[in-house]
């Protein structure tokens, strides 16, 4: 049962990543593209956590923590660059 639920959740997050990619390619503004990148990072964290459940290893949680931090910093840096013209004033 857990295996089937894992397959369902992984397929859902894979489809979600494809939709985010569609929004990045299409999105009319810069804000939409930043938002789609941030959502891609979130979905990727969830996918890593699901893979960690699937293989039964706790090694992947450190990777997802690092990716969460990198995604937050990159999103804030990108939005701040759009907002101010430079990142660290």
């Amino acid at each position: 049962m857990i295996t089937m639920a894992l397959w369902f959740a992984m397929a859902a997050y894979g489809a979600a990543l494809l939709m985010n990619l569609h929004r990045i390619l299409k999105g009319p503004g810069v804000g939409d593209r930043i938002l789609a990148l941030d959502t891609m990072v979130i979905n990727f964290i969830a996918l890593i956590v699901l893979y960690g459940i699937a293989v039964g290893s706790s090694l992947y949680f450190e990777a997802s923590v690092v990716i969460a931090m990198v995604g937050f910093i990159s999103t804030v840096a990108y939005a701040r660059f759009i907002l101010r013209g430079n990142i660290i004033e």
Partner: protein, 138 residues
């Protein structure tokens, strides 16, 4: 693992998948950019939260001990999701301010996403560093 434990972990996994999918469908389908800002927060809170709860319950049922890594990720995501949404909304307002027609602040200062009138380095360096030919190019 007993059946009810498998049922709990599977329900958490299905909730996580459904809400991750719902967040990205909203990101694709909603018409306005400010509406699109609303949808992926469901993927952040309920989607990733459900996946992390499933992982915690899985570790609790399989290994027999509580695991705290997932709590760290969920706390970090819950703390940073409003900050990123706020920054994206400010960047969007900065790009499309004329479309929204913000009301006056009433304090003599502009809105926070606009450049301050004086004192800030960004307000002073921006006209200086850009030569006048760039305005003609725009």
């Amino acid at each position: 693992m007993a059946l009810w434990q498998e049922v709990i972990v599977s329900i958490m996994l299905v909730i996580a998948g459904v809400f991750g999918l719902v967040g990205s469908i909203g990101l694709v389908k909603l018409p306005e950019p400010m509406m699109r800002l609303h949808a992926p927060t469901k993927a952040t809170t309920l989607g990733v939260g459900g996946a992390l709860l499933a992982s915690m319950f899985n570790a609790l049922f399989v290994l027999g001990r509580f695991s705290f890594h997932e709590l760290l990720i969920s706390i970090f995501l819950f703390l940073t999701a409003p900050i990123t949404a706020h920054f994206i909304a400010k960047a969007h307002l900065h790009r499309h301010r004329a479309d929204y027609l913000l009301p006056a602040t009433g304090t003599g200062m502009p809105w926070a996403e606009a450049a301050p009138p004086d004192g800030s380095s960004a307000a002073q360096t921006e006209p200086v560093t850009e030569p006048t030919s760039t305005s003609a190019r725009r």
